[in-house]
């Protein structure tokens, strides 16, 4: 899965999580750029990402990620190993 495919899948997840069907994301975006991306929704996002990519994120990874590109890199790293 390349980074574009991962980004597309994250878009779907985020549209569902934030209940925003028209949401468009780009790699440099962070929580403050997306309406509704608060700390609570962030947990939903983490759980949904773990579920749909079938991966497990660690505590240190979760507290470090900020931007969409952080997520993409993290996921890419997890699924290639």
């Amino acid at each position: 899965m390349n980074s574009d495919e991962i980004l597309a899948k994250i878009t779907t997840i985020m549209r569902e999580t934030f209940n925003a069907p028209a949401l468009v994301i780009s790699p440099e975006m962070t929580a403050k750029d997306v309406k509704g991306w608060d700390s609570m929704k962030n947990i939903w996002l983490i759980v949904a990402i773990e579920d749909s990519f079938n991966i497990k994120l660690t505590t240190s990874e979760v507290i470090k990620v900020e931007s969409i590109s952080d997520y993409v890199a993290l996921i890419q790293d997890k699924i290639s190993n």
Binding site: E16, T17, I43, A48, T58, V62
Partner: protein, 634 residues
Amino acid sequence: MKEWSLKECSWLPEVPTNFRDQCVAIRSSTGDSASDLYRLAQHRLNSSQLNSLAATLSAVQKNSDSCQFKNYFRLGLVSNATTALFVPALRASALRYGICLDVVEAEFGQVMQEALDPDSPINRADLDAVLLALDYRGLPFPEFFEGFGRSDVVTTGNDEAVDYISMLRDKFSAGGKRAIIVQTLPAPPETLFGSYEYRLNATLRRQTEQFNSRLADISQDSAVVLLDVAGLANRVGLDQWHDPMQWNLAKLPFAQNLVPIYTDYIARLLGAIRGQSRKCLVLDLDNTIWGGVIGDDGVDGISVGQGNALSEAFLEIQRTALNLRSRGVVLAVCSKNEDATARLPFKHHPEMLIKEEHIAVFQANWIDKASNLETIAATLNIGLDALVLLDDNPAERAQVREALPQVAVPELPEDPSFYPRALLTAGYFEAVGYTADDQQRAEQYQANSQRSSLQSSSRNLDEFLQSLAMVAKVDRFNQQGRGRIVQLINKTNQFNLTTRRYTEAEVVAMEEDSSIFTLQVRLKDRFGDNGMISVVVCRTVGKQWNIDIWLMSCRVLKRRVEEFVLAQIVKHAREQGITTLQGEWIPSARNDLVKDHYANLGFTPLKEQDGSTFWQLEVEDYQPGTPPITIEQS
């Protein structure tokens, strides 16, 4: 086919592909949004879909005052952990049980403050129940390293935790007006000693277990309702349940991918509190309770009984149905078959556990299943929303769901060995109590349905009543009858002339008061014992009896029991020199049925006052009827 899974609620049908479009449509619809939401909630929704449905519900609540749900429930939520994440999912899950749920959350970590402050958000709110969603970290168990193995630690620790729960119950129950729902505690999976852990009292493994067992005791004699989260966590697996990363990250008390099943567990309990649990299990026959097709394979060809793995699987399905029946769930049959053919295994297969006598309504014909289910509900005089259909055929299941969304139809795994698990996990028969009455309910409903089939075969009502061979037993109030008398006085709504409620203490006082005449009536017929079915209380004023209570169980409506009861009252009145009976109908929301009760019995109207009507009968003018009821001599 995907594996059957508890956490994915596999008994629910798959989510329609246009789920999100349907949510949008409900928001902008002007139609019956409540039933659209109910219908959509019946699917296997994941967390984000539950959240979307909850958002749709919020929009509907905001935009439309006219949307009428079957039930409303207001729940307070108190926890030592983060609950905000599952609240929307809980509201959506409640829709599955026909409940429009509003949740009032206590502030995070403010359990004690909420309890002690009479003006706290929870104590201030108008609530039906409060859920104490505490886990082991929220209860005063002593830290193990503070003194493990000391026997006093375990005693003190548990007493403290139980006292704490009792205190919270007392503070939150608003003087007994609210139910308090308390969770059993899943143990943490980590052990310090390995197997030896179980021998040490002060370990959390033992502490939580002992706490749970004491909680069961508390809930026997108070307003506490148990939510068996420990049982759920054990089924999921404690390692799956507890996610230390999520706890550290946001104080989430259990892994968030389990939210759909956790909230369904709560919702089904709220449903049970609201009386929404289902009452009747309808069984398909071919390949559901036996293997094979009776019409093709014959009695010798179908598979059920000891001997091979598959036939034993069907035996287990039958055992499950019978166990449910002895719990009070009525059994019925709905099968596409010739009636005579369908009955063959019940009559002639030696290993069938279910017999014809266990089946209250037997519908085997070629009419569509939805119509047959309607007949079953009508015959038993229960709602369609009290039915569960167990059927191996996916097409039939889909058709029934489409035609009758109120009927629960579990999706089944391919392998019949797993049918009992699917059926019993779905939460259809959730209970918040279990009484002697429940144990007999299946038989009572069954007797009722036999009576009604007799009624349709009898040419007229009198003939039918004659054929019932009714025998009544009449007594003054006494200690043996007291429990049921109090229950009838406080529960009967329809056939109840005055709807006056009395406590047990007041009923005891009536037994001893010579100025009060009391009557309790039991009724048997050829189909069984109906138990106590009527209660009368008269207060003496001079030479007159004022009928303070006259009520009757609707189970024996239209059987001329009231005529029989009046004859009994008159007989005693004469013996005691009473000349006049005065009756009163106080209208309530539910007792229109007895508006003309006294007129029908030959009383003359006396007056109307504040909406109530008063009626009078001179004892010497009384003309006895001839209800076909004989009296049992005690």
